[in-house]
Amino acid sequence: MSEIDPATARPSGTFLADGEWHRLHPASPLLKGGIALIAILGVVVANLRERIFDMFVPHIPQEDDPIDFIVNHGLIVWALIVVAIVLVVLTAGFYASWRMHLFRITDEVVEVRSGILFRTNRKARLDRIQGINIIRPFIARLFGAAKLEINQAGQDANVQLSYLRSAAADDLRREILRLASGTRRVATGDGSPEPSATGPGGTGPGGAALAQAGPGGAGLTDTRGANGAAGTAAASGTAASGTAGTAAAASGAAASGAAGQSVIERRVSEFLAPELDPDAAPPESVVKLDLGRLIGSMALSGSTVFLLIVVAGAIAWIITTGEFFALFFALPGAIGFGSYYIRRFTKSLRYSIAGTPDGIRVGFGLLSTSNETLPPGRIHSVQVSQPLMWRAPGWWEIKVNRAGHSSTKGADGQANTTILPVGDRDDVRRVLELMLPELLAQSVESVPAAGEAIDSAISVIESGLESRGGPDDGFTNSPRRAAVLRWFSWRRNGFAITTGSLVLRKGAIWRQLVIVPQPRLQSVSLHQGPLLRPLKLASVHLHTVSGPISAQLGAIDRDAAVKFFEDVARVAVSAAHSDTTHRWRAGEQQA
């Protein structure tokens, strides 16, 4: 580590993405592992308090607990020495690990060095970033700290910077995304040859705005900390003015949500504002997840049905046998279900999703929040699905496959793949528009000009969602003979190729629509087994990165399947050729 001058390795807080080595938040060791230590100390102190109490109030001595043993054998000095040594070693270890944990962000890579005895050095290329997640666990939030997690493709391929100052984490994410997006190269053409040396100002069109947003960002973060602790009136005042400013800058659908909100709602939405800089993004979430819908979606979920069946079974058991010991088994189950519901509820309660120039931003969490940015082209497939019981209210859920695997959990406590926990058709449409601009095969600027193409793509999606199927709904559906295998859904079971995506529709009872952006397709396969062959059917599987979604479509007409296979194989190559999302704002740069 001799090449790193300690003076240049500053603690975090100022501008971090300057290619120099930086340290993490000084409280990081405490937040990472020290909480447990504090808890242990707390237990010890609580026990000692009882002991001190006993000293003054005459009391029958307790049985031989460790402290009695130490006192009775005259080992107090030794015990204190041991405790002191342990404390010194722990503190020194924490300090050393903090000092040795350095990171830097250059124009090409994020690099982290850590470890005392066993050194690790991890480099992550910026153009391979799959997503950047800012996580604020509850306790870290009280300290105003945040964890920044840079997801790369693959298992255990994340770069974690835990912890940073809250404001610094937001700034750093924006800077990393700006470097990764390729705008730097455009800026270089504007006559600022070494942007990384000059800092954020003047590095491009967005640079000045970013610098200007700096103090505002710091102010917001302060209120964040205050709200995490108590939520004072002063904090909400600041927040209200801040939101008013951002709402004025917002446009279209985003602005409609801002009107007529209560102070608390505004406070909440400010809390979740995806981008602190109003110029950089519409700050409002495009989907409002209201309380009633959230509770309703949970009440109508499959796990509720399971719970009701179990309860009914237990009641029947008790009535028929007259024995109540079944209740003992029910208790752990009830606790499990309760915690599942509470977790899902608190996670989803503060859900937000919004588009930024650097991809969509999804936020979750009430006490511990996570807020993730997925740059364009990082979503490998999308599934819009509707369980049977959600049909009456018309709710849908959206999940995605992605190459990076965040270590935090999403709305369901599963992997962070649920993008929309529950939403109606308009929500689905808005979220899809954010996630899959390539579905419409139009860049954002040319959207108004390309009305017809969008209309057709949207009609494909809408018939994909709710149509019962039929000959002329934009999909190539299963033939009638497939009804042997797809009893109810054969009319609906089909595929479509839109300008930017491949769309599979299936399921009449559990409706499902799978959308695979063409550039994200890995490979395609065509199958036919002994069951499908006599029926002249075949199945097609679109391979993407692994995840909750399997883009598989069975029981479609053999000739149609062969044609689809060939079309998809051709389209996948050409789409991958013209794909520039790894440097998503670099203009016409080639892959």
Partner: protein
């Protein structure tokens, strides 16, 4: 046969027919292992297990009979932008992988394959 899947304009490269020999050797080895297991079972625990021997024999015969066709069903084609390959008789499978999506290519060659070249 007319119901089988076939891609219209594909000219398939077939794998070397020597793969049949290699696969036969593998089949012989696994049959021998299966016979050994059944023999041990017979000696140790259960009495004579004639039907298990019969089952092993039937599987071996089916494998031997179908092997040439199975090897002949394997095909690949290096197209301009992707690799297309197929395999399987009963369960047919076609896969197209664009070259740009390949992460790595392995070549495995055991002693038997070396001897067969």
């Amino acid at each position: 046969m007319a119901d089988r899947l076939e891609l219209p304009d594909a000219t398939w490269q077939r794998v070397s027919p020597r793969l049949i020999v290699s696969e036969y050797v593998g089949a012989v080895v696994s049959t021998a292992v299966a016979c050994g297991v059944v023999t041990i079972l017979t000696l140790l625990v259960f009495g004579p297990l004639v039907w298990l021997f019969v089952a092993v024999g039937i599987v071996a015969i089916i494998t031997v009979v179908l092997m040439p066709r199975r090897v002949r069903s394997i095909g690949y084609q290096l197209r301009d932008d992707d690799l297309l390959f197929r395999r399987g008789i009963l369960f047919q499978r076609f896969v197209a992988v664009p070259y740009g999506r390949m992460q790595l290519v392995d070549i495995n060659r055991g002693p038997l394959s070396r001897m067969l070249t």
